[in-house]
Amino acid sequence: MIAELGHLALCFALVLSLLLTVFPLYGSYRGAAGPVLLARPIALLLFLLTSVAFGALCYSFWANDFTVLNVASNSNSLLPWYYRMTAVWGSHEGSMLLWVLMLSGWTAAVALLSNSLPLILQGRILGVLGFVNVGFYAFILLMSSPFERTLPFFPVDGRDLNPLLQDFGMIVHPPLLYMGYVGFAVSFAFAIAALLGGRFDANWARWARPWTLAAWLFLTLGIMLGSWWAYLELGWGGWWFWDPVENASLMPWLVGTALIHSLAVTEKRGTFKSWTVLLAIAAFSLSLLGAFLVRSGVLVSVHSFATDPSRGLFLLFFLLVVVGGSLLLYGLRMRAVRSQARYQLFSREVLLWGNNVFLLTATLVVFLGTLYPLFHKELGLGSISIGEPFFNSIFMYLTIPFALLLGLAPWVRWKQQQVQPLLKPLGLWLVGALVLAVGVLSMYQTPSANVALLGLLLGAWVTMATIGEIQQKAVQLGGVPGLFKLQASHWGMVLGHLGFAMLVIGIAMTKTFSVEKDVRMKIGDSVELNGYTFMLTDVYTLNGPNYGGQAAELEVFKQGERVTHLHAEKRFYHVTQSVMTEAAVHARLSRDLYVALGEELSGPSWALRVYVKPYVRWIWLGSILMSLGGLVSLLDKRYRRKRNPTAAQTGEETHA
């Protein structure tokens, strides 16, 4: 009964999303306020109904209603209640429902918060969002209903959630990631609305910026959590695997990062319009492409949902309409747009253009690396695979010029910058960065570690240049109190850049100085790694709610002093008959100690994998700092300034 209620709510939601497409677009076309104003309650109702559907599925999981197919295949009565809730989005169908919940949520937020926009623009934005909604509601109802029943032959108990997904990281990772993916739909809608109207002014960029920042912020956190989750759950101590699905989330992130920078240029200088619009379309298109890759089974990955060509066909068709349509519109409209702004070769515009170029190159690398095996195979050239070394080396080379530019750009003025005045202060900070990098590295005994030095140097350069720029601002604004006059978005930039510096340092240090050992240990044995002594003190049988297995206790010493106690588990999930590693991690800013318990060997002894990973935390802390930068920018006052749409504006844009 509850499940049918959810299904019914989704059906109504589909109808509402159709209305949401038709009314505001018609209103904008006709210049009539009535139909546009109607979009707001429709959007809110859409969100409400989707919440009802989502709530119905949650209830089915909560109540262990195994007559619902999705519950029977992804949950189990032994599963603790919090994992029963996460199981809601553990399957393809449930995650699609989460996806539409978020899409309708963003749509409702746009409807509520876009009061200050001209009505015509509001109508177009909501209409485009409505259209995107239609596609996903149709997909979920026709191809992947989460409310299908197993009646009349329902099972007594369910098949359990994939044990990989039974983790705290999984509770928050997909919602954040989807918030990011779906959030780019709003930037996309802004871009299409601008293309329809043919107007891309500074106001438009200022309205689009906070939405893009918000989506980017969620995506950053989502990717970070995914990486952290993989680190803990997969038991290989890795934090990024260049898996097709990870790549699918990285591509919109890279393009989204380029987009927030490009939007800044469009807002401040009224130029880069064709870049900005293309990036906004690309960010959402890549989110859709990611959804297609994960759900169609074109690429194989540990993350893939079960494959079904008809789902893939539907998504491909939707992709063709949305992406193909918007790119066609882009070609038709953009050729008429001219930028008036003039700028010299050495100016902030050009440096930000460089940022776009590097980020897009990086996206292209990920794109080709992910899809090249597909191209290769479909051209009849056989199967190949592209692995980590390819991505790692190219990303290393891309990071060098990118980080150099990143440190420099905030110092450079818009339009034109003389080289001379920058040399002295920047030279000083550069020397500072050199001293810092070499100094930190000299603490490690291997000065031959070039990658680490390079990463440290780049990170230190970005840090120094960013701090230096703030120091310069402080001088200009009359001391430290003057810094309070800086706009929030400026502080956002500073935080974002410092976060990036941390990320680069973390990656370079972890890649270079991580050590690992596969060992066979008996109780009482100890192994030494990088100055730490790991002693296995106990191994015992586990008795979890839906799993058994073994747990190992270790004591860690450094130079005779006890550092910590570690607890690693190897779980065996009864229902799905699968084995999962729960790694033990002791985290400090400068290093992680990481132990994964392996197979029991004869003896009795156990296989253990022990790692010391310096600075690995910096990767995630840097990402958190970047998202914090996004949040601070988002809170900038100028995005919340109220503007009353005047009749004159409405009239003017009708003819555009």
Partner: protein, 194 residues
């Protein structure tokens, strides 16, 4: 010219869609291994149960054989054992290729075939023994030559010792019927059947 540039993204996207469309209808797990239709590479590796006996490619000829790459360290392989045992009871000739993981000599760990034999025998006694015999590939040389990307994987080898099919992933009741078809075609001796 400048105007045409704005259509480049559209053209690139349409080209991509063609690939995605054709990708939808082909099996991504279907690896065209470089060794398909080629004879087994030459090797001489010990039998796990009788390490003094060396197995060569000639030992796999004569009958259609399913060469199964596996290891105790691989949970999916262990889960697969009981189904493979059923297949053995149905008369499928299964030979194991044991994937030995690298050992860290620096830690004083060395490869001990006796310990491994003990562990394997214990496991097979618990889960069922599908194997006619097990080849131990300590240096992973044959595994490398075969282009194995992980475990479990399996190869169908015909009477003449020619590799006819490469299966990536476990063999289970769902995907066996498809594999069985090829197995039976080879069994019936149709050299062109694939």
């Amino acid at each position: 010219m400048r105007k045409a540039l704005f259509y480049v993204p559209l053209a690139a996207f349409l080209a991509l869609s063609l690939f995605l469309l054709s990708g939808l209808f082909s099996d991504p797990r279907d690896h065209g291994s470089a060794l398909i239709e080629k004879p087994l590479p030459a090797f001489s590796l010990p039998d796990l149960q009788q390490p003094e006996r060396m197995i060569t490619a000639a030992d796999l000829k004569g009958e259609v054989t399913l060469l199964n790459v596996w290891g105790l360290w691989c949970p999916t392989c262990n889960a697969e054992l009981s189904f493979l045992t059923e297949l053995r009871q149905q008369g499928v000739r299964i030979v194991g290729l044991y994937y030995v993981q690298p050992v860290d000599a620096a830690f004083g760990d060395s490869f001990d075939i006796k310990a491994l034999r003990h562990d394997v025998e214990q496991k097979l006694a618990e889960q069922g023994d599908p194997y006619l015999f097990n080849i131990v590939d300590e240096k992973r040389s044959l595994i490398f030559d075969l282009g194995v990307t992980g475990a479990p994987e399996a190869f169908l080898i015909d009477r003449n010792g020619v590799i006819r099919h490469h299966h990536v992933g476990d063999i289970n009741p769902q995907n066996w019927p498809q594999l069985q078809q090829r197995y039976q075609q080879l069994q019936e001796g149709d050299p062109d059947a694939l």
